[in-house]
């Protein structure tokens, strides 16, 4: 029992027993690390995060959380379930699914309330998050009336407020404008600096560098094509291309069409300012 938070060994999962979503995945994630999972659409990233969050369970292979095998039966135990939910938080890919309360405020405080966190404490955390994410104006509105980006911020707040040790984020910056993306990145990085483990699934290679120590690349075969240090993965254009993460770019240049592989990196205006 070392520093490993999640350990997956040869994990298989299929939906309804026929739609394969993970086919033999091995992963080990250490405490306090930033890890990202990248891969094409349908390569099993969301499935992996749901598995780590104890919402679905492996058909085959083992999933261990802090050295203990996760099984569906454990979640019937109230203490275990509560501890696990306090330690692991998931931001869903589809904010519409995550937001089910009549108002934004109720949605954000739903988690900590269910988990029995002190009301004073909840209020304090709510105020903090509202300021950081700049969502004060939204608090009394119904979540389904918000724009996609606003919904995503609220969904993020509703998981962050639980203050879990491990944060699972399913494409947290999809559809957000550059400045909001920046804020969220800063939030995640500072959370990581304070010791939290961050596991992000994304297609956005812009953000991968900042939010990963280690990158897992999922292949079309729904298993891991490669994993390693972030710089090594991002250099491997061939691998990225093979997994729909970089694309052949063509553009017109003095009446000639140039075609070359293209990785979306370092195009971020804010990024340059920060360095």
């Amino acid at each position: 029992m070392s520093n490993v938070v999640f350990e997956l060994r040869d994990v298989y999962f299929s939906y309804l027993g026929k739609f394969e979503a993970l086919c033999g995945v091995d992963i080990a994630i250490e405490k306090g690390k930033k890890v990202s999972v990248i891969g094409a659409n349908g390569s099993g990233k969301s499935t992996l995060l749901h598995l780590l969050d104890g919402l679905i369970f492996a058909d085959k292979g083992s999933v261990k959380f802090q050295g203990k095998e996760l099984s569906e039966r454990d979640f019937n135990d109230e203490d275990f379930s509560r501890n696990f939910r306090r330690s692991v938080g998931l931001v869903f890919q589809d904010p519409d699914i995550q937001l089910f309360c009549p108002t934004v405020k109720e949605d954000i405080i739903f988690g900590p309330l269910q988990l029995g966190i002190e009301k004073e404490e909840i209020k304090k955390r709510l105020d903090e998050l509202v300021t950081i994410l700049n969502i004060g104006d939204l608090l009394n509105r119904p979540p389904h009336e918000l724009s996609i980006g606003e919904k995503r911020k609220v969904a993020l707040a509703s998981s962050l407020i639980i203050n879990p040790d491990v944060l699972l984020l399913d494409e947290p910056t999809a559809g957000l404008d550059p400045l909001t993306t920046r804020h969220i990145m800063d939030l995640l990085i500072s959370a990581n600096a304070s010791g939290k483990t961050i596991i992000t699934s994304t297609h956005d290679l812009h953000i991968v560098e900042e939010i990963s120590d280690l990158v897992y690349v999922f292949s079309h075969e729904k298993k891991i094509a490669k994993f390693g240090q972030v710089d090594l993965i991002l250099e491997d254009i061939e691998l990225l291309e093979a997994n729909n993460l970089a694309h052949i770019h063509s553009h017109r240049h003095k009446d000639k069409i140039h075609i070359h592989p293209h990785v979306h990196l370092g195009h971020h205006p804010e990024e340059e300012n920060l360095r």
Binding site: L55, R85, T103, S158
Partner: protein, 280 residues
């Protein structure tokens, strides 16, 4: 023919979104009205008495009185009366007519003739007993449905679920109730969204035959989709620590006003049933 089916479909869709907005109108729950301010536990208890009254009353005038009380309560709870009437009356035909129509006719409820209908040479006789029995039944449905809608639009969903738990309704039932609520909501939403999606793809002049070919219109597919959405939403609730033992922000607090209210309702209940029985 084409136009007609299109029209029917459109009305069906608007009826469905109407339904969705009425049962799931959570915005009323946060208004600062009379019923919203009452401790949900005592409120549920008092509404239980209203339901019992509605079921046992035999005199139409008293049912009308009870209905009047319901509207008055809606008014004091800052609910737009026109809105409330429209929404409740939408369900009433659905609930009552289906059950009641057969009972109108003297095949099922024999008695004196009130009207005679000549349909396809078959004489359908509406009996007096059938008519009045049906009238009473419809009125009971009206009153109960109105009270049910009133309760659901003045009480927050999770607070209501929590109250049911306090009243000793087993966890499984409360959980199932919550799930059903969610499924129906999502189903209505999926229907609405699918209609929009189809409209954007084929325009409003959707012809019936083509419509049938669009797989999404298959009711079972729609239901499946909402079922999956429901599962996902439930997953999202679990993920944030939900355990079918809902915790809400404001703990239930009983003020003396709430007890006064329940006291009034009990007195009302006793008196109205007494009058009902004695005068008969």
């Amino acid at each position: 023919m084409k136009k007609k089916s299109n029209f029917i479909r459109r009305s069906l869709i608007s009826a469905l979104s109407f339904l969705k907005d009425s049962v799931f109108a959570e915005e009323y729950t946060s208004r600062n009205g009379f019923l919203q301010g009452i401790d949900p536990r005592l409120k549920v208890a008092s509404f239980a008495l209203f339901f019992i009254t509605a079921i046992f009353l035999k005199r139409a005038e008293l049912l009308i009185l009870l209905y009047g009380l319901c509207l008055l309560l809606a008014l004091f709870s800052k609910i737009n009366l026109g809105w409330f009437l429209k929404r409740t009356w939408l369900f009433i035909p659905v609930f009552s007519l289906l059950i009641v129509i057969p009972a109108l006719f003297d095949i099922f409820t024999p008695g004196e003739t009130l009207f005679t209908l000549n349909i396809l040479r078959a004489k359908l006789v509406i009996s007096r007993q059938g008519f009045f029995g049906a009238r009473l039944f419809v009125m009971r449905v009206i009153v109960s449905v109105s009270f049910a809608v009133l309760l659901s639009i003045t009480t927050k969903h999770f607070a209501l679920l929590k109250t049911f738990r306090i009243f000793g309704i087993p966890q499984v039932f409360v959980m199932t109730m919550g799930m059903c609520y969610r499924y129906i909501y999502l189903f209505l939403k999926v229907v609405e969204d699918t209609y929009l999606a189809i409209k954007s793809r084929v325009g409003t002049r959707l012809d019936y035959k083509k419509g049938q070919h669009i797989v999404a219109w298959n009711i079972s597919a729609l239901w499946n989709r909402s079922y999956h959405l429901g599962e996902d939403v439930y997953g999202a609730m679990l993920s944030r620590g939900y355990t079918a033992e809902p915790v809400i922000l404001d703990d239930f607090k009983t003020k003396s006003r709430d007890w006064l209210w329940l006291f009034f309702v009990v007195i009302f209940f006793v008196i109205i049933l007494y009058i009902d029985r004695r005068v008969l």
